[in-house]
Assembly symmetry: C2
Homo-oligomer: 305 residues x 2
Amino acid sequence: MSVLVVGSVAYDTLETPAGRAEKILGGSASYFALAASYFTDVNMVGVVGDDFGPEQMSAFEGRRINLEGLEHAPGKTFHWQGKYSTDLNSRETICTDLNVFEHFKPKLPESYRKSDRLFLGNIEPSLQRDVLEQVDAPQLVGCDTMNLWINHRLEELKKTLAKVEVLLINDSEARELAGDWNVIRAARKIRAMGPKTLIIKKGEHGALLFQEDSCFLASAFPLEHVKDPTGAGDSFAGGLMGYLDQSGSHDEATFRQAVIMGSTVASFCCEDFGVERLLTLKQDEIHERFHEFASMVHFDRLPLK
Amino acid sequence: MSVLVVGSVAYDTLETPAGRAEKILGGSASYFALAASYFTDVNMVGVVGDDFGPEQMSAFEGRRINLEGLEHAPGKTFHWQGKYSTDLNSRETICTDLNVFEHFKPKLPESYRKSDRLFLGNIEPSLQRDVLEQVDAPQLVGCDTMNLWINHRLEELKKTLAKVEVLLINDSEARELAGDWNVIRAARKIRAMGPKTLIIKKGEHGALLFQEDSCFLASAFPLEHVKDPTGAGDSFAGGLMGYLDQSGSHDEATFRQAVIMGSTVASFCCEDFGVERLLTLKQDEIHERFHEFASMVHFDRLPLK
């Protein structure tokens, strides 16, 4: 079993109410790969510059992460700088230096073509399809996107959506993509664009899983101390896809567990800056929090009439 | 078993994306009483003016609602006018005419003094205590409040909070009352003010129930068509307190069911303007939606390690 992920590998400079971190490891593929590696083998696809040395690489080493597809290009690594609001519910981008990421054309190593599951991280939609076409016969294809592509590459995005089974998107993006403020109606419209499974992420308010006629309501695991929410969505995706790959099943019950697993891993991610917490996390901690989560949402059914 | 509620009885003029309604029945006590009456006997305390005739009274008749404590005063009934935003997540008050509600001094009929449970709706905090003192030995006292009292009657509010077991409050009010944007920390601070049970309402994002060391995460029932969210919080409170009174238990498991019951009744309330849907609701519909709710949040636990 293996999951392939394509996305950004970056240096992030972050400011949150808990402090500041300078040029730390970030990027959607980094968070996804670290999260998913707790469950399965990950084939990582991305690009870094000359300034990404052995020290940075070491974060991925000694884990179930295949780095053959991580290209080293001449130039600097993608750098993003952001600042969060006091309540962490919004953030402002201070600068985005695409650097080597600007002309990134993902080329998959031969060994990646047999990947069982695929996650097309948030990159330009036609590039997402380029990656998809390089994999032989994936059993499940998930993707992410963002408002930039919804607003400026809608036709390309729709072509990608027609080819994926699972879309992960946040609530404001879902409303924008569907042109409907009601998430239930928005979900129906988005599922008609292709993805049979739609997961709408609502940050601290949880996530909604839509499949056929069913809707699963997932809360978020409540945290008293959030240091840095960067990468929570990508860790969610990594935990979700990793768990699905490990389980080898795509039925509704497994998807529901996978959503809770994604939330669980994402909650750990927020406890420290950047990928720090994902580097020290233990299998037992994940397992224990999953159970705690289950207890926190449990209630007894009423007797049937 | 009986629940006493004190609060406003009003005429509301509402504008939502679904339409407009002119001078329809509203007020916190009205929504609460109608919701709770599906579960138990309700002793209603409030005031109306000369313009509140038999037609308006008929909404409460033929139900488990005792109207002996609904005072008829000379003057006009409280009138509130509001307009909702397109996504229904915010509303603007266009006018508030307190009228007979301005000098309301709740006096309980003799028959109300034996009420088992008490809900102090959103009125001035010292008036809430006046009502509390008129009841002999309530088994459970719940209350609601709002930012007006948090900002302008904080000391009075704290005296009330010291005397109640259950506080229902929305998330922005909880943050304001505690002076902490993190709801988990805010919950701890508010519970230290008195109420052992705290329910933080998050509208379409559900509710959180805090008791001792436990936190219960409740989603909201998702609705595709919301006509009017007015009274959802009061219907939630009515469903919750009504269910607790019917059950006769205050243990954690019953409280969790009561929160889901409150959400269930509140979801019906939003389906039509004002109290309309609460007037036509059937027991079976409530029961069925509670079960649907349970199915929508269910996921299988992982095997224990």
